[in-house]
Symmetry: C2
Subunit: 132 residues, 2 copies
Amino acid sequence: MDIGEVARRSGFRASALRYYEREGLIRSLGRKGLRRQYAPEVVERLALIALGRTAGLTLEEIRGMLTGGWRPRVDRGLLAARAEALDAQIRRMTALRDGLRHAAACRAPDHLECPTFRRLLGIAVARRGGAG
Amino acid sequence: MDIGEVARRSGFRASALRYYEREGLIRSLGRKGLRRQYAPEVVERLALIALGRTAGLTLEEIRGMLTGGWRPRVDRGLLAARAEALDAQIRRMTALRDGLRHAAACRAPDHLECPTFRRLLGIAVARRGGAG
DNA sequence: GTACAACTTGAAGTTGACTTCAAGTCAAGG
DNA sequence: CCTTGACTTGAAGTCAACTTCAAGTTGTAC
């Protein structure tokens, strides 16, 4: 496949695909003349990259997770660690989501004054005279 | 409080605090000579900003959520919409987390070949001859 | 065989969120 | 009064992740 075809199928722009190739996230099979030729599987790989991106991962992190095809071994410990880091972020985002949902419903003049909001977000700042 | 004190208490650098002030995320009470003076409440506000940042929100988005103190009204619809967007991202991240956890345990040579992995990540790419 | 759309490259530009730098100001302690 | 370290400013630099641009090449349809 030409890069344009991959772009159409994956939703990434050709410039992004070239960038990903430079960065080692995808590979082309070779060239037809000047033009890069891609295997169809690259589209799945790109779907995974897209998922990682929308999940807020950096390309560096995604590259650490992608092993498919050309890298022989998976570092299972690394994958598990990534999963845990992701889980921590999911918890933070969940707290924020719940805080926002509460804020959308609460009538307190300032959310920072609302105990429910504060508890949801885990904001535990001493009001006065805290020794730490 | 001097900016240095706020920096110590919030974990942000002074340069970040000045930047946030320029961008309208925080306010100082005024100046003592040249020096900005901050109310203690700014530390809570910064904790909220930090939470939003680690949750992957942009400063722009965070500013849209922060109303505390000087902005009179909360746009509840906006807050609810933010919560929903966050929820969508949480779902994507959860899918990815579960995919990673599976990948860390699975013995398939390539995760993209593993039906469990594919299902978890929702990768539904036609293997061959897809007409769309 | 020629037109042209689709590709190629390297370099530079963009955006968000800051940091760093140079040069200058000033509050507080001695 | 003087020193000093924490502050001030605007401008420029940095990083990730691309995009855009200019100039050049080429596969392919006609």
